[in-house]
């Protein structure tokens, strides 16, 4: 038969598929970034500190925190109101997301981390709940716009052909497109609410009265019994979302959140105006340097700008990218490992359960805490940050992929061993896992912001130092640089992912 002759002359590399290439490239790039990143281990004698942390977790002290209930409630309330406001803003925008201007504006808003939005709004509104809610609502709304528009694009078009020709536009859209993806959108909003709880807690790091505020001060002051209790509480809060976050209860929570909102502090108009018209201007344009000549001002400005770009923005960008890519590669390895462990027919109920419990803990703990602990262990370098990001994101991707693998139908020949898994299950879930992982890259990039606050010299580090030195002008330039970096990567990833209807590529 002529076919046989053809087969035997097929070159080996013809079997080297799209995902194998992508994986190989990812691993190579990761190695390179890891090589160039600062990953020196500085042994610090961490054991006594670690021992105290361990003791803290063995005997968590739930009563040490004053205002504990208020902190929990504030965390939930900011998350709830933030997501609701984000939906109000993001859902309508999703309909216009195909316009490049809208997409660019959303990418810009999204690229600035909640923490930086909070730092900005803090200058304007002070410690008002408005700061917390807006800091979540803006980036979340912009994310909703993008994801909803992506999801809606995937809705099958056949329904539109079959409904009566004279149907009005709204009904056409709602029944013909939205109804197809309603469940997906609901699931996504639910998932984002979990993220919002984490974001809301983290806003405590800049002074908002949420769990993170108490968590950070407890860890920083070495009150590990208290810190451990807060962390455990936080994990329970995230893990029990399915039990307390019921659709029927949502209106109740919502009303309570509005009702119990801390009083809006009166906003001092003159302060807001000063911030917008003077504080954020470069120093040579501010009112205290009125006596400078215009030419001198521009010259000084050029020098000032050059210094910020070369001394802070560019090194910060480089560190951010190195850190993020290295973290992406390690997230991949962890996700692959833990997805495999979470597949019950392979590992058995017991191991799969334990694995899922570990996944819950790993994805609930804010990266900040991991980074802190690893920094004690390994000394101040990028390594703790890389490990922290990899653990958190790898666990999240593994959790989402693992959920998919439980519903994936596999052939009856599955032998229950690792080779059977690699042939039968992995090829079915791999495209989705990779897609999730690449979507996470944008998130990882943003999360480097928080690690900057711990002292890893990413863009976040420079922004944080500018804010704490009350140099809003410099912070603004760096925030712009962050946004630029994120937008560039967003464009690149869109080219890579969306065009090539990703999940249908063969492995």
């Amino acid at each position: 038969m002529p076919d046989l002759v053809n087969m035997s002359s097929t070159p080996r590399q013809a079997f080297f598929g799209y995902w194998q290439k992508v994986t190989l490239i990812l691993l190579c790039v990761t190695m390179a970034c890891f090589y160039w990143a600062d990953t020196e281990i500085i042994a610090l004698e961490p054991w006594s500190e670690l021992q105290r942390i361990g003791l803290g977790f063995l005997a968590p002290d739930f009563l040490a925190t004053e205002y504990l209930l208020e902190a929990v409630w504030q965390t939930v309330s900011f998350a709830l109101l933030g997501v609701a406001a984000g939906l109000l803003f993001g859902a309508p925008v999703a309909l216009f997301y195909n316009k490049p201007v809208v997409a660019a504006a959303c990418a810009f808003i999204r690229s600035i981390h909640e923490l930086f939005w909070a730092l900005l709004f803090l200058q304007v509104f002070g410690l008002s709940p408005l700061t917390g809610v807006l800091a979540i609502a803006l980036p979340y709304g912009a994310t909703f716009a993008r994801v909803f528009s992506d999801i809606l694009q995937q809705a099958p078009i056949y329904t539109l052909q079959n409904i009566p020709a004279n149907t009005d536009k709204v009904s056409r859209y709602i029944y013909g497109r939205f109804a197809h993806v309603m469940n997906e959108i609901k699931a996504y909003v639910r998932y984002r609410f979990e993220c919002a709880l984490r974001s809301s807690a983290i806003l405590g790091f800049v002074g908002m009265p949420t769990l993170g505020f108490y968590l950070e001060s407890a860890f920083r002051q070495g009150h590990y019994h208290q810190g451990a209790a807060l962390l455990i509480l936080f994990i329970i809060m995230i893990g029990s979302i399915p039990f307390w976050c019921r659709a029927k209860l949502l209106p109740l929570y919502f009303i309570a959140a509005l009702w119990l909102l801390p009083e809006l502090t009166t906003i001092d108009g003159s302060l807001v105006w000063r911030f917008l018209s003077d504080d954020i201007l470069p120093p040579m344009f501010q009112s205290h340097s009125m006596d400078l000549l215009l030419d001198d001002r521009w010259q000084l400005f050029a020098k000032w700008f050059y210094n910020i770009v070369t001394e802070q923005a560019l090194p910060g960008m480089l560190a951010t990218v190195l850190l993020a890519v290295a973290a992406l590669g390690f997230s991949y390895l962890l996700a692959l490992l833990m997805t495999t462990f979470s597949f019950k027919p392979l590992t058995g109920t017991f191991i799969a359960r334990i694995n899922n419990f570990i996944l819950l803990i790993l994805r609930s703990v804010p990266e900040y805490i991991f980074a802190y602990i690893f920094m004690l262990l390994l000394g101040p370098s990028m390594l703790p940050a890389i490990i922290a990001l990899a653990i958190h994101n790898g666990a999240l991707v593994a959790y989402l992929t693992g959920r998919q693998s439980t519903t994936t139908s596999f052939s009856r020949h599955f032998n229950g061993k690792i080779d059977g898994y690699a042939y039968d299950i992995l090829p079915r879930i791999y495209p989705n896992m990779m897609a999730l992982l690449f979507y996470r890259f944008e998130v990882i990039l943003r999360e480097t912001a928080i690690l900057g606050m711990l002292g890893v010299a990413t863009l976040g580090f420079y922004i944080d130092s500018n804010f704490s030195e009350i140099r809003f002008n410099g912070a603004l330039v760096l925030i712009g640089a962050t946004a630029l970096l994120n937008i560039l990567i967003d464009i690149a990833s869109r080219r890579l992912l969306v065009n090539a209807s990703l999940s249908h590529k063969p492995c």
């Binding site: 056949y158 079959n162 409904i163 709204v170 056409r172």
Partner: protein, 231 residues
């Protein structure tokens, strides 16, 4: 009612329809037959595009919304009759009137599942009847269907074809069951490789002639049975 003259359509390199001319008058019952890839679906969707305002369409892909109930999917046939606000309310809280009407349609289609059931849980035959139900509920003078009964057993298929024929003045349907085409339709159009080979009164055609038509058109491809027919 509709005149098509010298229509050719192609997708990329593939010629789907090759200079087709035909005219359709109101009241006709037309069956379109042909082997896989002969251009039946392309022709029928072209015909629907021309007659949109007065025809209900039941495409091969069905276009059902998996997450919605049988009721809501059938109700979609009435979207054009009602206002957007009414449609939206009905999505959340079904109104009594459409509930009664859709129940009647579901019964006439012998749908043996609760109409509150999500379409994603239906069998192939139930899905097809839901799609037909949506077309029936449009209440149009004309029915255009692309193999709407292919997943049903022949006995039920015949009962439902009768139902569709009774409720519509004009019916144009792609079929792969030759007996049905001869028994229930008064005009048969046969396509082969995008060209119209048969266009005649059903009475003038015998089962043997049709058999010959199919064998002619398939013997180039080499395979004589298509998978759909085994299923």
């Amino acid at each position: 009612m509709l005149d098509i003259s010298d229509l050719s359509l192609s997708f990329g390199d593939k010629q789907a329809l090759d200079s087709i001319s035909l005219s359709i008058t109101s009241g006709e019952k037309i069956a379109i037959i042909g082997s896989s890839g002969s251009g039946k679906s392309t022709l029928i969707s072209y015909i629907y595009d021309q007659l949109q305002g007065s025809a209900a369409y039941c495409s091969q892909q069905q276009g059902l919304v998996e997450s919605l109930s049988v009721f809501h999917n059938i109700y979609m046939g009435a979207l054009g009759r009602n206002s957007a606000v009414y449609n939206l309310f009905n999505l959340a809280f079904p109104f009594k009137k459409p509930l009664l009407e859709v129940t009647a349609i579901a019964n006439s289609l012998e749908l043996d599942c609760p109409i509150s059931q999500a379409v994603s849980q239906l069998s192939g035959g139930q899905r097809q009847r839901t799609a037909v139900g949506r077309a029936l509920y449009q209440d149009m003078p004309m029915f255009i269907g692309d193999e709407p009964f292919s997943a049903l057993d022949p006995v039920m298929g015949k009962r439902l074809i009768n139902l569709v024929l009774q409720q519509h003045q004009t019916v144009i349907m792609v079929l792969h069951d030759m007996d049905m085409a001869l028994q229930y339709f008064d005009r048969v159009i046969g396509l082969r490789d995008g060209r119209k080979c048969i266009d005649t009164d059903a009475a003038a055609l015998s089962a043997e002639m049709l058999q010959a038509f199919y064998e002619d058109s398939t013997h180039f491809i080499g395979a004589s049975i298509e998978p759909a027919e085994i299923a």
